[in-house]
């Protein structure tokens, strides 16, 4: 038989080891994987970077300086059922390598769905100061994307300059700020090939926004010479028109 002191130390060890167990991290969930959706910008068929001068459907030279938008929430479909991924993401195309990561159950998915803007329950009557500063809806995280408590957040900010004639300085403002609950839109995109999420791995998708289509779609077109500005905090029709155009401006690819 061991001495009493050895038993005491042994007992202490058991106690400490049991206590220490409490601060170990949770065991990894083996059935979860990650969908990483990279955001890219295009103008027509060509990749586009902000501050490039391009030509719109009316032949006006246009330069986008700022394109930001909220996507909330993102969901993925498997066997006809939707599973929610990332909740709120603020995409800023002036920042390199924008992406959204969603944690999903392992499986094979065939579509993605996301809200453009913010659903009503998180758009108005919530104080941005109630979020931690790292949150995209916080005072700091939403800088420049918040109107007022009553009108909520700017869903899409599409800003730049244009000119009526090519070869001249771009001095006329392009300034679309779309928001309000009535402007919230949902986009659903079928994957061209299945997205396989395996446990503890990351699968990549590319979500491309064609910024030209924000001005020119199959059913509507915005003429910058007539309607270069909307700040539809009160929900004017032009902001809603741009949101409708943007619904058809997305393309998804699975890598």
């Amino acid at each position: 038989m061991q001495s009493p002191s050895s038993l005491f130390v042994f007992g202490l060890l058991v106690l400490v080891l049991t206590g220490c167990d409490r601060c170990n991290p949770e065991p990894p969930e083996t059935l979860l994987g990650t969908a990483r959706m990279n955001l890219e910008l295009a103008w027509g068929d060509e990749p586009y970077a902000l501050e490039q001068v391009v030509t719109d459907h009316n032949g006006y030279p246009v330069r986008l300086d700022n394109l930001q938008l909220y996507l909330a929430p993102v969901a993925f479909r498997i066997d006809g059922e939707w599973f929610e991924g990332a909740d709120v993401s603020l995409i800023d195309f002036s920042v390199h390598a924008q992406h959204i990561e969603s944690t999903l159950n392992a499986g094979t998915y065939d579509a993605v769905r996301f809200g453009m803007g913010l659903p009503p329950e998180i758009n108005t009557d919530i104080d941005p100061a109630s979020y931690p500063n790292s949150h995209p809806l916080s005072v700091i995280g939403s800088a420049g994307m918040f109107w007022t408590w009553a009108s909520g957040y700017i869903f899409v900010k599409y800003e730049g300059k244009f000119a009526l004639e090519s070869g001249t300085q771009l001095l006329d403002p392009v300034s679309y700020h779309c928001g309000t609950d009535a402007s919230y839109r949902t986009v659903t995109l079928e994957f061209p090939e299945p997205l396989v999420i395996a446990s503890e791995t990351t699968s990549t998708l590319t979500l491309t926004l064609d910024a030209a289509k924000a001005l020119n779609g199959t059913d509507d077109a915005i003429d910058l010479a007539v309607d270069p500005v909307t700040h539809n905090a009160q929900g004017d029709s032009l902001g809603g028109r741009m949101m409708d155009l943007l619904v058809d401006a997305w393309q998804i690819n699975v890598q």
Partner: protein, 371 residues
């Protein structure tokens, strides 16, 4: 050595190993930063109603002693080459911790080319200086002491002067754990003090808390502040408002979005490139950080170069629209005609701006010169 002894030694060693290892997974280690200060008293900054949380750097937590040391240093004239200037010389409390002159004059008589920014609720700002060239408060504070046009004292000499003071040595020891004085510790202490410069008791704040009323003119001005500019007949969403809230929004009651904008002051930027001087991007030319409107009635002159002496001149600038340029902000969308507010509306807007004055902030004894 008997088998029993070997067993006991083995168990003791294992116990020591386990205990040491277990300590690492506890989140509240008493001293886990290079400048940890076990003797200093933790200070909890009171976040005013409707304000966001303030992000305090993990390596510079607020302490009672650190803040008091920072106040001493903020007002310490020995941090200038000739002993005539302190931080407070250009950041006067009565002027909202800004300089009532367009340009501050350094110890050599040289002048800067921008107005000293007001230090109000700066702990919430994610960038510093008009052009955003500093990303932390500690980094910002490092510059004026050694800048040849400002306090013009090399940091090595500043440290030496502080080391020669028994009082400062003792204060650094309490605040940072030992008597070592460095530029980094000096700026950390000043940053702690500056983070406590919180203004949240203006008439507007009291109104938001339901403690008082705004006059009709002040409330009308607030509505103008919150309304979109432009004629609704010609501008979608136009509401004949002041369009102020976009950049000086009330989110978190900061009255600034802390972004960089060209507000139509100039059409060329050779005199001052602004944010472009930091980013190297010509499309950032003429862009400057949006200042807070808190205590704006006290913190003139206005704009990055102090070109406007009065709030009336400021409002007139926006009312007439400013000048177009390739980088002017989209919010300055009325450069061809301005906001076209009436004289009465302009007066109401200015009346509202006066409600952001907080004299309990400017006269707070905790912020004044302790020397």
């Amino acid at each position: 050595m008997t088998k029993g002894m070997r067993t006991r030694i083995g168990l003791y060693t294992l116990a020591l190993f386990v205990l040491t290892g277990c300590e690492r997974c506890q989140g509240d280690l008493p001293c886990d930063t290079p400048d940890c200060a076990p003797a200093a008293t933790p200070y909890t900054l009171e976040i005013p109603p409707f304000f966001p949380p303030m992000d305090i750097p993990e390596d510079n937590p607020l302490t009672v002693e650190g803040i008091e040391l920072g106040r001493m240093l903020f007002w310490e004239k020995e941090l200038s080459a000739d002993g005539s200037m302190s931080c407070g010389s250009c950041h006067l409390p009565s002027a909202g911790f800004s300089d009532p002159n367009p340009y501050s004059t350094g110890i050599t008589g040289a002048q800067g080319f921008r107005n000293a920014m007001a230090i109000i609720n700066i702990g919430w700002s994610p960038s510093f200086f008009w052009d955003g060239r500093a990303l932390t408060l500690e980094e910002q504070i490092l510059e004026p002491v050694s800048h040849p046009d400002e306090m013009a004292l090399p940091w090595s000499e500043a440290v030496e002067r502080l080391q020669n003071s028994e009082d400062y040595a003792a204060r650094f020891a309490v605040a940072f754990g030992d008597e070592t004085i460095t530029p980094e510790r000096t700026t950390k202490a000043i940053a702690q003090f500056v983070r406590t410069l919180v203004s949240a008791d203006s008439k507007f704040d009291r109104w938001r808390r339901g403690e008082t009323f705004l006059t009709d003119a002040e409330f009308a001005g607030y509505e103008i502040f919150l309304r979109e500019g432009g004629d609704p007949e010609t501008t979608p969403g136009g509401e004949f408002g002041g369009d102020c809230f976009h950049c000086h929004g009330e989110a978190g009651l900061q009255f600034s979005d802390y972004l960089f904008r060209n507000n139509g002051l100039d059409s060329t930027f050779a005199a001052d490139a602004g944010h472009a001087g930091v980013t190297g991007n010509p499309l950032d030319s003429g862009k400057f950080k949006t200042p807070t409107l808190r205590n704006i009635a006290l913190s003139g002159p206005y704009m990055h170069d102090g070109r406007f002496q009065t709030l009336e001149e400021v409002v007139e600038h926006y009312n007439s629209g400013g000048v177009p340029s390739t980088t002017v902000d989209p919010f300055m969308k009325y450069t061809t005609g301005g906001l076209q507010l009436s004289a009465v509306q302009q007066a109401q807007l200015i009346a509202f701006l006066h409600t952001l004055t907080d004299t309990s902030f400017t006269s707070n004894p905790a912020f004044q010169d302790p020397h």
